[in-house]
């Protein structure tokens, strides 16, 4: 196995010790199959134990290790070192406050996620004895794509609207709201209406499509947002009842 020494320019910020963020360059011996996350772990284990970064599953499922690599939002567990040339710059996700080094504060995202009520809402719950809510494969297909989100927030870091309007509900939350609105078992459409079509909802989106470009799970949030715009507009013109999207 050929080990290659690669340079990583890593964003460092320890608010208890310094006023301004700095960049520190590390020289890391990398194996050919390494991803950026492997290099960050090697830095923390062998070079500089003070480096802070988030990670968990190492297999593109948990959405913990989102960062900017050369300015682009990626899952670092899915960003192969061999695909980058020269010095690799690693920074925390944009559009979020930094807690320390590569770790960002995600509270705003969590609040937005909750605001769209991403769960099945029924007017009246069926009794367990009455059996399950049946759904056909075609009905599942309606929303399945939008249910693949892993809350990695790459789309929030990529969104140009969020950079100027921090209160925008944002791609992942709207895509998830849309997913429940399209679900044949759900009756909570009108309860999500204000969050999605209110002041900071879909209308803030300028369709730059960056969210769908960076999404590692091919959720296509910009498609969800624009479908929600159409249904929202038709509901506004009273051409579509608020209670049904389909």
């Amino acid at each position: 196995m050929e080990v290659e020494v690669r340079k990583f320019e890593v964003f460092r910020f320890r608010p208890e010790e310094e006023e301004e963020p700095t960049y520190h360059t590390y020289e890391v011996p990398c194996m050919p199959e390494w991803v950026v996350l492997d290099a960050l772990n090697a830095i923390k284990d062998d070079i500089d134990p003070t480096l802070s970064h988030r990670w968990s599953c190492r297999m593109g499922v948990c959405g913990s290790c989102s960062m900017l690599v050369n300015g682009r939002p990626v899952l670092t567990c899915n960003a192969f070192v061999k695909n980058y040339e020269g010095t690799i710059r690693v920074e925390p996700l944009s559009n979020f406050p930094v807690v320390r080094d590569l770790v960002v504060e995600l509270d705003s995202f969590m609040a937005k996620l909750q605001s769209v009520k991403p769960w099945i809402i029924r007017k009246a719950e069926k009794d367990l004895g009455e059996g399950e809510y049946l759904q056909s494969p075609a009905q599942l297909e309606e929303f399945k794509q939008y249910s693949m989100c892993i809350n990695c927030c790459l789309c929030y870091a990529a969104c140009p609207v969020l950079a100027s309007e921090p209160d925008f509900v944002g791609p992942a939350a709207i895509a998830l709201a849309h997913r429940y609105n399209l679900d044949s078992r759900d009756e909570g459409n009108h309860e999500r209406y204000d969050a999605i079509h209110g002041h900071d909802g879909v209308w803030a989106c300028s369709y730059s499509n960056e969210c769908s470009q960076v999404c590692p799970k091919h959720v296509d949030p910009s498609m969800a947002i624009n479908q929600a715009k159409l249904t929202g507009a038709l509901q506004w013109f009273k051409l579509l009842p608020k209670r049904s999207f389909t």
């Binding site: 950079a163 100027s164 079509h197 300028s206 507009a233």
Partner: protein, 113 residues
């Protein structure tokens, strides 16, 4: 005001995008390229095109194409300003105001033919 009417701006934007995509390439190709090059046997001379434009359906078509395309462009322009970090609703008033003036002009000119 601008925010409250958001669905209206978006529907105008969508309709404009639809009508622009479907009609403008054909209009430009036919009127400014194929016509002058003599591709149409009957010719697309001024009198003939004016005749088409002054039919009730021709007038409605012209008004729809001109005004909706302007609304489409205005919405793009407004959102471009948002993406560039312009604060406030000045861009919206400017863009939509221009589209509104263009719409009024389209009515006046087209109905005056």
């Amino acid at each position: 005001m601008i925010r409250r009417l958001e669905p209206l701006w978006w529907i105008l934007f969508g309709a404009g995008g639809f009508i622009a995509a479907f009609t403008i390439p054909g209009l430009i190709t036919g009127l400014f390229l194929l016509g002058p090059l003599g591709f149409f046997e009957s010719g697309l001379d001024y009198e003939r095109v004016l005749g088409l434009a002054t039919q009730p359906l021709g007038r409605a078509f012209l008004i729809a194409v001109i005004s909706l395309t302007l609304w489409h462009s205005a919405h793009h322009l407004r959102h471009l300003c948002i993406d560039l970090g312009v604060k406030g609703q000045g861009a919206a008033y400017g863009s939509y105001g221009f589209a509104l003036l263009g719409t009024i002009a389209a009515f006046v000119v087209t109905l005056g033919l």
